[in-house]
Symmetry: C2
Subunit: 246 residues, 2 copies
DNA sequence: TTTTACAAGTTGTCAGACAACCTGATCGGA
DNA sequence: TCCGATCAGGTTGTCTGACAACTTGTAAAA
């Protein structure tokens, strides 16, 4: 059974993934420049030693990512200005623990800027939505139930207040994968006390700065909150992100 | 020939696209909730009246988008949270300028934070790399050749100085697809004068702040530069991102 | 010279088969 | 009864061969 677990972890990547990864790196390295024609599916199948079906799936993935375009009867070409692009955060199962710090730091950077922008753009409806989720978290704390969902919702409401679709989607993406509860489970599967009161106090500070339309204070509060959230899961961003200048 | 042009524009979407779009909307509408198992490929092929190969390509695309996951021998399931972020910036016929503004604004937010962090983390090698690309852009300006590549490289060097893999990759992604030159071509295909001297002066200011290890000044310079870059392509982020507090 | 027709090459689709794998049920022994 | 091994069916992954739809360049015809 030890073998079985190993096989699940080190499982061989699907053939189509190997092929698409190989092509992707070739494109990234510039060996295949935008506008270049890819080898025909037949040739690719022979060079990789797989069937044409596998090649077609790999091509389908690259096309979905916007990296290449195919023209029936003509060939497949490296895309110049793709219609849509996928930013793939990681390949395979997920990020390694070492990388968690990097991801969390990135999230902190983005979320502080987003909070600042929210303080400039928020309209009354945004403020009402934030307040609603704040209240939901209050209730959860009082009842002793799980407030992580309300936590996530609050952050999403802040992102929505920027009225910037892509900022919202980026926050949504990072939040789904790296909300406090999930981080906790990864970094230290054992412990469970999230100290929600502390987080909630920071939330309220952020909220008031945003509602008051004070971008500078909103940024500071967000920094504070994200540093606190990091500390709560054992990551120390303090020296990097808290000090202001030198 | 009018017919022919029409056929090129209104060309019937590929079968696999039809299928993947149909599945995508079903997921978006909630008819297929996260965790739900999709019908088997055989069933899908029958219901859509296509072959299994087409279904497999559609599934490959959705898997590339991170919307579903497949387990061999078990089935295909709606993913809980997508593993990649999808950026769409063409709405059918042309680029959506509103979204372009959002994307550019997001890039400005991230890049200012990244520049600030670079000023804290840079090591001598980073400074040397930045200087090298700055010099390359100087040369390009003097020769009148295209300096956009050196421009991109400089920004990448700044991102590298954060020593944060994910921040670097995000900047690389946004830069590759939304560099100044590309933006120019999209927003206003006619004009071409990038005013590289102006950009270069801003670059140098950023560089000096980073080299001096002054995060606050680095952030201000980056804000200045990105606001300038936006203006040069006709997007005005000034009122939102320049003022400090209220 | 211009137009038409054709042939070769390429991607898109189809059909059937087998391999690898997972899941639940069945059955035998304790 | 309980438990473990075995088995059968179903599902995705891959292979093979074939044909359809389309593009492109070339050669023949006007």
């Amino acid at each position: 059974m030890g073998i079985n677990e190993l096989k699940k972890i080190v499982r061989a990547p699907r053939l189509s993934e190997e092929v698409s990864n190989a092509l992707e790196t070739k494109i990234a390295r510039g060996e295949l420049a935008p506008g270049d024609q890819l080898p025909t599916e037949k040739v690719l199948a022979e060079t990789f030693g797989v069937s044409r079906a596998v090649v077609r799936e790999a091509v389908a993935r690259l096309r979905a990512d916007g990296r290449i375009e195919t023209r029936q009867g003509s060939g497949a070409f490296v895309a110049q200005a793709p219609k849509s692009l996928n930013f793939r955060f990681w390949q395979g199962d997920g990020p390694a623990l070492v990388e968690l710090r990097d991801i969390f730091e990135l999230r902190a950077m983005i979320e502080t800027s987003v909070t600042e922008l929210a303080a400039r753009r928020r309209i009354p409806e945004d403020v009402a939505a934030m307040q609603r989720h704040l209240q939901a978290m209050d209730d959860a704390i009082r009842d002793g139930s799980d407030g992580s969902e309300a936590d996530d919702d609050f952050h999403l409401a802040v992102a929505a207040a920027t009225h910037n679709t892509y900022a919202y989607r980026l926050i949504e993406f990072l939040g789904r994968h790296f909300s406090d509860s999930r981080r906790l489970a990864w970094v230290d599967p054992g412990r469970r006390e999230t100290l929600p009161e502390e987080a909630q106090a920071e939330h309220r500070a952020m909220f008031e700065a945003i509602a008051a339309g004070n971008p500078a204070r909103a940024r500071r509060c967000a920094q504070e909150h994200l540093r606190g959230a990091a500390l709560r899961v054992g990551i120390d961003l303090a020296t990097d992100l808290s000090e202001e200048g030198r």
